[in-house]
Symmetry: C2
Subunit: 400 residues, 2 copies
């Protein structure tokens, strides 16, 4: 029997999705599972996006241009990015198969096998997966839960830079932490990139999910660094169209865009129905985002307050996205997550969380932490917290 | 200014799509371009597929399972594959972002960096692109246009096998040649894989486009080789839903499927509207395929007869897909293709073809050949042939 590649054997399984079979088994037993584990919002997609797909008049679903439909690229540039103060031409946008492909392309474009990328840990676990797939090493600047995962001093970056370092990759607001970086922090990161001539790959897929009064400051607006910045964005995330699988990669750097186009051509084109939905989504009224933001602030407050009310649990107050990373009074958050799905029931329900260890590069970090998504309505968040509290009290590996 | 990776610089541009800007420029001048260059059929998508998308009742477009919607996987196994005599369980199917992702995953699953895959040249040019992206070397068994690109003797394969050879990758029916392999040829390829314990990656995305009376023989049905066979398939191609971007990877080998699932999880899920269209497409009546087949046979006959009637042009008679590779009486088919788009006009029209050189690994092969797609209605094929004939007569690099 032919053997699969060593790389495929060593490929890390998704920390976020690998507990899915346990959750499915629990559900098959009739157990209600509160999903705090995944960034799948329950908020309705914009009606204009759904209508665009339902009302399409196509009788043949052809390929689009590899870079995406020009109507979408133009619409993104003129209707969306101009409106939020990001100056970008349609030719500087390539539509991707969601933010995931944009991350993968950014790594391919900036790094050869053996090159290094600096991330802030905890980081989105699939950054590590895509780095692994491309033979790239992530080097992590550590951030602390006690300090709300704020960016540490510039020295921490300087000491990690080697001749093989090609980029800094950030998520702002951050997945998994929900941390929002200020204008000053982004400018400081830009300064590091300028000094070492590194690319700054800025994953801003949660840009419309910011809960402060300050506007989001995009890396695209760092003065004088336009050739070094690559923007990763997601239509799917922004408009609660996760299944559309539409994102984009954006840069003013012509070499970056030419390379992105070569990769884009290899996979022919991004999904066309998703592009049609995305064109429709461009007409989403501001009131939609306002309502979403208000709802998420209420959910966040309920979640973070509830978490911190459980003895031994600590969560900072995230300012963006719809996640928080909390420390739990357990020996191992992964064992706890499995035990919750396999063994623990409270009023016929349990809770699924994502163990945070795989969001860290530094060995031993994050073992007792979990990523908690607040993508449920407030009453359900409160119920989920009740189940979580009871689960912690009953868990054999409790450490408090 | 930060520099992109060496790999991205060296990445080959798509031979199929790189002439697109020249074609766009011609169209901008008001020139009609007959597209013989790309496998974008003009045949309508099945109504049941389009209706499924238009009639969807979703108010939130969520992620699907990373492996695809279970309704689609089950439908593929029970409605489609069972009907054509391929015995496969839903758990042995992972829905991919079209055939492209399935090819990429097959290479990732079977090969490490530095490993080798044997192909039959001329081959689908993106095999080379995906191999390049994964650090894999293609070794080509040469097939001759004069012999209709038939598979040569087994010796040709044996002599290419090294300790680093991990798989044979075929396309059946073949893109770009349209060659259909017989049951005996597939069994012989299976025998080579068995002898050297290689994977057989069988790209059968054109399975429903076969123009002989013999049924298509799938590599999945090679007796006793089920652990070595990986099937690449495409819903997009089969149902003229190119823009849906839905395909699948299939294997009875559990390690292969487990690895495919890890890669699938990294990109979260395949496009959901495309999956909905694909579920609808499963109800496509046989009469649709019969009509499509009849139409393509007429087109093929018109195209091949017309090509062979032009002095100095030769095309074999392909038995599947909707392409042929023809030799042209020119110094260089790429120069000719560019010249047609940039310079030549006939009745306000020109023709776009795909130079075949990049479909070959062997240096110097295919220089005067082109891939010609017969994806237009017969009267338009005839008109395109008239333009092509006139172009050849006027071309400064004519060699006949």
């Amino acid at each position: 029997m032919a053997k699969i590649s060593s790389k495929s054997q060593a490929m890390p399984a998704s920390a976020i999705r690998k507990l899915v079979p346990l959750a499915d088994a629990a559900k098959a037993q009739g157990v209600e599972v509160f999903h705090l584990n995944i960034g799948q919002p329950d908020i309705k997609s914009p009606q204009c996006a759904l209508d665009a797909v339902r009302g399409n008049k196509l009788d043949l679903l052809s390929y689009s241009n590899s870079a995406g439909l020009i109507e979408l690229r133009r619409g993104l540039a003129e209707k969306y990015y101009r409106g939020i103060g990001i100056d970008v031409a349609p030719s500087e946008i390539i539509v991707t198969v969601a933010g995931s492909e944009a991350v993968d392309l950014s790594l391919k474009i900036t790094c050869d096998v053996g090159d290094e990328v600096i991330v802030l840990e905890p980081f989105y676990t699939n950054y590590n997966t895509f780095a692994f797939m491309n033979g790239i090493t992530l080097k992590a600047v550590h951030t602390n839960i006690e300090e709300g995962f704020k960016i540490p001093s510039i020295d921490a970056f300087d000491s990690l830079v080697t001749p093989r370092t090609k980029a800094i990759l950030i998520s702002n607001p951050g997945n998994p932490t929900g941390t929002l970086y200020s204008r000053e922090e982004i400018l400081a990161l830009g300064e590091i990139c300028r000094r070492h001539d590194l690319f700054l790959i800025s994953d801003e897929v949660y840009r419309e999910f910011c809960y402060t009064d300050e506007p989001h400051f995009s890396a695209m607006n760092i003065p004088g660094l336009s050739d070094n910045v690559i923007l990763v964005d997601s239509v799917s995330k922004r408009y609660n169209l996760c299944g559309a699988r539409i994102g984009c990669i954006i840069s003013h750097n012509k070499d970056v865009m030419a390379a992105a186009m070569k990769y884009a051509q290899a996979r022919l084109c991004p999904p066309v129905f998703g592009q049609i939905a995305s064109i429709g989504a461009l007409d989403t009224p501001q009131s939609y985002f306002d309502a979403v933001k208000k709802e998420y602030i209420a959910r966040r407050d309920a979640m973070v307050e509830g978490l911190n009310a459980i003895p031994g649990v600590f969560s900072p107050l995230p300012e963006g996205a719809f996640y928080t990373v909390a420390s739990l009074p357990v020996d191992d958050a992964e064992s706890f997550a499995r035990w919750m799905l396999e063994t623990f029931r409270y009023d016929g329900a349990t809770v699924q969380i994502t163990p945070a260890r795989s969001f860290y590069k530094t060995p031993g970090e994050g073992v007792n932490q979990a990523r908690i998504a607040y993508v449920l309505e407030v009453p359900r968040i409160k119920k989920a917290l009740e189940v979580l509290r009871a689960g912690l009290e009953a868990y054999p590996g409790l450490t408090r």
